[in-house]
Symmetry: C2
Subunit: 212 residues, 2 copies
DNA sequence: GTTCATCTTGACACCCTGTAAAGTTGCATT
DNA sequence: AATGCAACTTTACAGGGTGTCAAGATGAAC
C-alpha cells in the first residue's frame, strides 16, 4: 500500500472517510467507506465491528469536528432571556443543516441496533440537559411563564430543536435561514416568557395614562 | 392456491399485508409482505413495480384506513381560536403515533426514489394547506398576533406537527399523551394569539381599577 | 532477524432486490 | 365444450449488501 499513513493512523482515516460519505449524502456502505479511505473493505472491520458501530463513531467524531462546544458559547454568554432564546434559535438554524445527514443515518439504523438506540437516547438526553439549563436560567431571571415548569420548558425547547422540524420548514417549505431563526425565536419568547418587571411597569403606566 | 380470494382481490390483500408489516415495525421487505399476504414474492411484483411503489401505496392506504377526514372534523367544527388550537394539539397527539411507522418508511426510502420524494412533498403540502386554513381562520377572528402572517403561522403550525417532534417528547422523553397535548396547545395559543377583544377589555378594566 | 500488529486478497454464506421464463389454474366468453 | 386470458406459481439468475474466515504480505520496532 503506497499511501497508507497519509492522514494519521488507520482508524482515524476510516472515520474521516465515513463522515465524508455521510456528509455527502451517500448511503453508508462499508465498501464506500473503504474506497474513500484507500483501504480494503476488510480493514474497516478490523477497526469497527459492524456498520452501526461505525455510524456511532462517525456521529461522535462529527460532533467533535463541528465544535459543538464552541457553537453553544453564545448561549452561555447570554445575560437576558430574549438574547438567550434568540441565540438558541440561531444555533438551531446553523447546526441542524450540518448534522442533518448524520442524524438521518443514526435514526435509520437505530431500529436494528441496540448500540445505536443507546447513542440516540444519549444525544436526546444531552440536548435535554442543555435546554433544561436554559429553562432554569429563564426561571432564575423571573421570566419563565407560570404555565411552565423548568422540566416542561426544557423538554419542549429540546424538541423544538428536532432536525425534522427544521427540515420541514427550511427544506420542504423553503424558509430562509433568517426566517427560520426569527420565527423560532419569536415562538420561543412568546411561549415561554412573561414580560420583564421593567416592561410590565412601563406597560401599565402607558395603559393607565391612555385610559384616563 | 386454496385461499386466494379470502379478503378481496390480490392487490388489496397485498396492500393490507404491507401496512400490517409496517405497522408492526418490521422492515418492509417484499418477502415479508408476500408471506403475510399468503402469496409468492413474485406476485407482489405483478401489482407493484418495486418496493418504493408499494410503500407509497401503503401510505395512501393507511391514510384512508385511519380516517384522516374524520379525525380533522373537530378542528373544522371549532368556532373559536382556543378550541381550534386545542383540537389541533389533540389531533397531533392521536394521529402521530399511528402514522409514525409509515412516515418512517417513507422518509427512509425517500432518498433513493423520486416517486417517494414526490409523495412526501405531497404530504407536506397537504398538511400545510390545512394549517394555513387554520391560520386564516385565526386571522378572520382577529386573533392572529400581528407578528405573524397567515403564511408563516400556517407553515409553523405544520412543522409543529412533525412526527419527530412528537416522537422526541412522547417516546424519548416519556411525556404522556395528555401532557403532550396540553403543552402543545398552550404553546400554540401563546405563540399565535392575541387576547380576544372581550378579554382585553376586562383586563384593562381590572388594571385600571387596581391602580387607582 | 525475528516478531507482531496491521493490512491485503480471496472466498464464502446469507439476505435482499429486481428480472425473466415457463408452467398452472380457474373463470368467462363464445 | 373448447378456447383464451389474467392471475398466480415455481425456479433461476445477476447484482449488491453484510459479516466471517483463512492465509499471506509488509514494515517498523526490538
Amino acid at each position: 500500500m503506497s499511501s497508507r499513513n497519509r492522514t494519521g493512523g488507520g482508524r482515524a482515516r476510516i472515520l474521516e472517510a465515513a463522515t465524508a460519505v455521510i456528509l455527502n449524502g451517500e448511503p453508508l456502505t462499508m465498501s464506500a467507506v473503504a474506497a474513500r479511505a484507500g483501504v480494503s473493505r476488510q480493514a474497516v472491520y478490523l477497526h469497527f465491528a459492524n456498520r452501526p458501530a461505525l455510524a456511532v463513531a462517525a456521529a461522535r467524531y462529527t460532533d467533535e469536528q463541528l465544535g459543538l462546544a464552541d457553537a453553544v458559547r453564545p448561549m452561555e454568554a447570554a445575560s437576558d432571556a430574549e438574547t438567550l432564546l434568540s441565540a438558541y434559535a440561531e444555533f438551531l438554524a446553523d447546526y441542524n443543516p450540518r448534522i442533518r445527514n448524520i442524524v438521518g443515518v443514526v435514526k435509520a439504523l437505530r431500529r436494528d441496533d441496540p448500540a445505536l438506540r443507546d447513542a440516540w437516547l444519549d444525544r436526546v438526553r444531552n440536548r435535554r440537559r442543555a435546554t433544561r439549563r436554559m429553562a432554569r436560567r429563564l426561571a432564575g431571571w423571573g421570566r419563565l411563564a407560570p404555565e411552565f415548569t423548568v422540566a416542561t420548558a426544557g423538554d419542549w425547547l429540546a424538541a423544538q430543536g428536532s432536525v425534522e422540524l427544521w427540515e420541514e420548514l427550511v427544506v420542504d417549505l423553503g424558509w430562509s435561514r433568517q426566517r427560520f431563526s426569527d420565527t423560532m425565536a419569536e415562538a420561543f419568547r412568546r411561549t415561554l416568557l412573561v414580560p420583564s418587571a421593567a416592561l410590565r411597569d412601563a406597560d401599565q403606566a402607558a395603559r393607565n395614562s391612555s385610559s384616563t
